[in-house]
């Protein structure tokens, strides 16, 4: 059975790009959200296996979204997408349970590889 994926990013273009990049993988995009609050609501509704999560969004920062969705489903695989990457942020995100961290701008292959890993192959 294919894994389910939710895409969280305040950019509609980024959401569509990720959906396009993963279309050839064995995952099903079940939801997408443009801000943190919407992400938490949809996560609770769809309980996806994998989430791609932007860090900088209106309403709620990605770090808080990460904490909240992992409280709902601790085994969710979260791929964090961030424009800023430094050692302290990486440590913080990994401590909070992020499985992968991808720096913006990303390439299609980076997204596909991370989603493949999160889907277990």
């Amino acid at each position: 059975m294919s894994k389910t994926l939710m895409i969280v990013d305040d950019s509609s273009i980024v959401r569509r790009a990720i959906e396009k990049y993963v279309s050839e993988l064995d995952v099903t995009v079940v939801a997408s959200a443009g801000d943190g609050r919407d992400a938490i609501e949809k996560f609770s509704e769809f309980l996806p296996d994998i989430v791609t999560l932007d860090m900088t969004m209106p309403e709620m920062e990605g770090t808080e979204v990460l904490t909240r969705i992992r409280a709902v489903r601790p085994d969710v695989a979260v791929i964090v997408i961030t424009a800023v990457q430094n050692e302290s942020l990486t440590m913080e995100l990994m401590t909070q349970g992020a499985q992968d961290i991808i720096k913006k701008p990303f390439t299609p292959d980076q997204i596909k590889d991370a989603v493949r890993r999160a889907a277990g192959g």
Partner: protein
């Protein structure tokens, strides 16, 4: 310490690399220069503020065809029409991308704001750019853009 025409070379290298990976083609860069006054902007402008151990902002400004080409490149689409929402979205992502790359030049904790986007008119924008800011002209697929980077390191000096 602030940004200067030498340190923006790091941005050029990283942007060229990312652009190539993202769209399959590379932009051309003009010579960077320091800018000491208000900036005259093009049709669309995206601004990202920075806070933390480095502060200031990054601004990108360009005309619509530049952004339409970016949208098509990111979405791997051909010649289809690009809507206004996507153009505004793209200029914000463009600013975000440059801000992320520019931050990597500072070995410090930096937070980025959600992009502010302006479509259409203002001849002059007064963003919170430290003066002078460094401007970098970009040409891509026959269209031009300006990247403005004004970042100051706010880490207290040691010793």
């Amino acid at each position: 310490m602030g940004f200067n025409p030498e340190s923006i070379n790091l941005v050029k290298v990283a942007l060229a690399e990312h652009w190539q990976a993202m769209t399959g083609t590379s932009p051309e860069f003009g010579a960077p220069y320091e800018h000491f006054s208000d900036l005259i902007v093009q049709d669309y402008t995206g601004i990202v503020g920075l806070s933390g151990n480095a502060g200031g902002c990054v601004l990108v400004t360009c005309d619509r065809p530049f952004l339409e080409n970016m949208v098509r490149g990111v979405l791997q689409e051909g010649e289809g029409a690009v809507g206004e929402d996507d153009v505004l979205d793209m200029v914000g992502e463009f600013a975000n991308m440059v801000a992320g790359v520019a931050c990597s030049a500072f070995d410090s904790i930096v937070h980025l704001s959600v992009p502010v986007v302006i479509g259409g008119q203002p001849d002059i924008v007064r963003p919170p750019l430290p003066i002078p800011a460094v401007l970098l002209p970009i040409t891509w697929q026959g269209e031009s853009a300006i990247v403005a980077v004004g970042i100051e390191n706010r880490t207290p000096a040691s010793g």
